[in-house]
């Protein structure tokens, strides 16, 4: 049947959307809003917080790293200064006072002017590297002991060993070996014994290690 509505529009019955569509619309809107809200929450809250934490951690790491670098630089500098100090100390400790040893040797040779015990003079005195591994230097002196008696050379050798302040800095002295020589220079005594003694010096700081 064909329906004709002759009522003016303002009197006509308003027809709403169909119920199914309405429900679908509302549900759809609700779901969409929920999805948007969820996404917004994740983005604005969760992800932002995570990023902020990450940035804070990066900043903290940068600071700590700078401090660690400074600490490492301090350590390097300390090690350099420690190395220098050790070097300076070893330079001082390696020192041998040869003027003292020569002075003491000259006293032994002179023997307070007592020529009866022995009469010795030297031709060469040399200081060079030590023969023994632990010895930093060696003193070698060669010369003559005036007089016919070999005992005088032996006496000189013994006096060297018994002169504590001179001998205690050395490891040992070569034995008193030598050959008899006759001089033709019209001087007295006209015979003598030649000798060459080598003495290896102890390490300069041996007293501190005792």
């Amino acid at each position: 049947m064909i329906k004709v509505n002759l009522l003016p529009p303002e009197h006509r019955k308003v027809e709403g959307p169909p119920v199914a569509r309405l429900v679908a619309l509302v549900a759809g809107a609700a779901l969409t809003a929920g999805a948007i809200g969820c996404w917004a929450y994740v983005r604005m809250r969760v992800l932002s917080e995570a990023r902020a934490e990450r940035e804070a951690a990066e900043e903290e790491l940068a600071q700590v790293k700078a401090m660690a670098d400074r600490s490492a630089a301090l350590l390097n500098e300390f090690k350099e200064y420690e190395k220098r100090r050790t070097r300076i100390e070893s330079i001082g400790q390696q020192r041998i006072l040869w003027s003292r040893k020569l002075d003491e040797l000259a006293d032994v040779i002179y023997n307070k002017g007592d020529t009866k015990q022995y009469l010795v003079w030297v031709n060469t005195i040399r200081v060079a590297g030590g023969r023994a591994g632990e010895s930093p230097a060696s003193l070698t002196f060669s010369g003559l002991s005036g007089g016919d008696s070999y005992a005088k050379l032996s006496e000189f050798h013994r006096t060297i060993k018994e002169t504590k302040e001179f001998y205690e800095d050395f490891l040992a002295i070569d034995p008193p070996v030598g050959g008899k020589q006759t001089f033709s220079d019209n001087k007295s005594p006209s015979v003598g014994w030649d000798f060459s003694f080598n003495m290896d010096h102890k390490k300069p700081n041996w007293r501190e290690k005792q």
């Binding site: 999805a35 995570a50 200064y81 002017g113």
Partner: protein, 498 residues
């Protein structure tokens, strides 16, 4: 048609929200993943095995960053301790490096060598190896150099000792002395000239080498003065250079010179008895010189203890001993002829005796004043004071003060000096008092206290009589005298005195 439209609209109404939900849901999932991907949790420990940073979420990245920070924090916590160590060692090295020459001193080494040559008397024949270019990269570089000199043994010894007593290290590496021309005894050919090759080394310190950029420490100067750091610096033993003080050896022969004498017909064999006699003379003089040395040491001790009486006595004794020994030495010098005894005599008796005799006055002690010296002055001052010649008394006391100015007063003379000074002060007071005009023209006796007319003014007891100086006041009135108080002294003056 409208039914189709309705259906389409319905489908669209359902589909669009579904699509929107799916889309936003996916976005939410994606952002969630960006935040939490591979986050290591108790529920998901396996996430730690994923090492590709590109896959990590923000929380995982944060976890890794915190882990790195924790590892570095241990190193960072050591900063305070390491700063302290650096401060201590910077100062220690700066202190210890003082024993090493700096570049400037190395540059002046040539001048130093020249000066040492002059001081010792050796002749310099060669210098090699002096260089500004250090060998080695570090802060301390070594510079070896070698010298060739000629001279006597003592000259070389002095030369060597000068290097070994420098405040900055110069070490002797080696040397060779070759005995030179022999100087015959008594022929005055001049000092022998041994040939000497000397190897030395020194070190150059360059503080800036080895450290690209020193770490800047805040408040360094203030922290350096901290007692804890100062204590740590002091605990590090300072590097020092051992030195040897060369003592002059009188009459010691050059060991590189042949000491044998030429055989001569004039050589006289010394009899053993004569040698014994000479030895006895030497021994006796040795005892005398040792006693004299002991007396001199005792004198120094007395001076230190301010026992001036003993000083006076001992000085006299020392003077007498010296005088006696001079005669003995003249005699011994003539009588001791045996070579070795003579040499010992010169070294052990003549040399120390000369030293004692030539001692500065300060060694014997400063001039001292005893009772004997003070007595004449005191007598004179007392005499003048009793004779009321106060000017002479003051003058004599001033002479004493001037004479005694740079002398030490012996303990038991102090009493006499005090008495002299008291007399001098009294005399001065009397002189000043007598300069005050005190013309007494009348006296009024009253029960409540006498009044005296002095210089036209009435004065009672307690009034000043020498205004405006106010040093002298009337202290008492007697029948025939007035008593004044002048600078603490009570002076009685007769009334009828003009």
């Amino acid at each position: 048609m409208s039914t189709n439209n309705d259906r389409n609209v319905l489908i669209a109404t359902i589909a669009v929200p579904i699509l929107c939900c799916a889309g936003f849901g996916w976005l939410a999932w994606r952002d969630w993943n960006a935040a939490h991907a591979y986050e290591v949790t108790d529920d998901n420990p396996a996430a730690a095995e994923v090492t590709d940073e590109a896959l990590w979420g923000e929380r995982r990245r944060t976890q890794e960053l915190k882990k790195q920070a924790d590892q570095l924090r241990g190193e960072a916590d050591l900063i305070a301790k390491r700063e302290q160590d650096v401060i201590v060692f910077r100062e220690v090295v700066q202190r210890d490096a003082q024993i090493l020459p700096d570049r400037d001193q190395v540059n002046k080494l040539a001048d130093t060598i020249d000066e040492f040559v002059r001081q010792s008397g050796v002749s310099l024949t060669s210098v090699r190896g002096l260089s500004n270019a250090p060998s080695g990269d570090g802060a301390i570089s070594r510079m070896p150099f070698s010298l060739a000199v000629a001279g006597s043994f003592d000259q070389f010894l002095k030369f060597l000792n000068l290097f070994e007593t420098m405040d900055r290290i110069v070490n002797v590496r080696g040397f060779t002395i070759q005995g030179g021309g022999q100087s015959q005894r008594g022929q005055g050919d001049g000092p022998p000239a041994h040939a000497i090759a000397l190897e030395l080394e020194t070190f150059i310190y360059n503080g800036a080498a080895g450290i690209t950029k020193p770490v800047e420490i805040q408040n360094y100067e203030r922290r350096k003065e901290d007692p804890v750091i100062q204590k740590l610096i002091k605990q590090q033993r300072a590097a020092r250079i051992e030195k040897y003080q060369l003592k002059p050896r009188i009459n010691r022969r050059d060991p590189l010179i042949d000491p044998r004498r030429a055989q001569s017909v004039d050589d006289v064999e010394i009899a053993p008895e004569e040698e014994a006699k000479q030895r006895a003379i030497f021994d006796k003089m040795k005892v005398d010189i040792e006693l004299l040395k002991a007396d001199c040491d005792q004198l120094q001790q007395y001076l230190a203890e301010k026992k001036y009486m003993q000083v006076v006595i001992l000085r006299q004794k020392i003077a007498e001993t010296v005088s006696g020994m001079e005669l003995s030495l003249r005699d011994a010098d003539r009588r001791i002829t045996v070579a070795h005894i003579r040499e010992a005599y010169l070294e052990e008796i003549v040399a120390p005796f000369s030293k004692i005799k030539e001692s500065e006055p300060e060694r014997i002690g400063p001039p001292i004043i005893g009772r004997k010296e003070v007595a004449p002055f005191l007598e004179a001052v007392r005499g003048f004071s009793e004779a009321r010649d106060f000017e002479a008394s003051v003058r004599r006391a001033a002479e004493f003060e001037s004479w005694a100015k740079d002398k030490q007063i012996v303990d038991d003379a102090h009493e006499m000096v005090t008495a002299l000074r008291d007399l001098a002060r009294e005399a001065q007071v009397m002189l000043d008092f007598e300069r005050i005009p005190l013309k007494v023209t009348g006296r009024i006796r009253r029960p409540e206290g006498d009044i005296v007319i002095i210089n036209g003014k009435t004065r009672k007891i307690g009034d000043w009589v020498d205004a405006p100086d106010n040093r002298c006041k009337l202290a008492g009135v007697r029948d025939d005298a007035l008593v004044f108080d002048f600078d603490g002294f009570e002076i009685t003056r007769a009334i009828d005195r003009k």
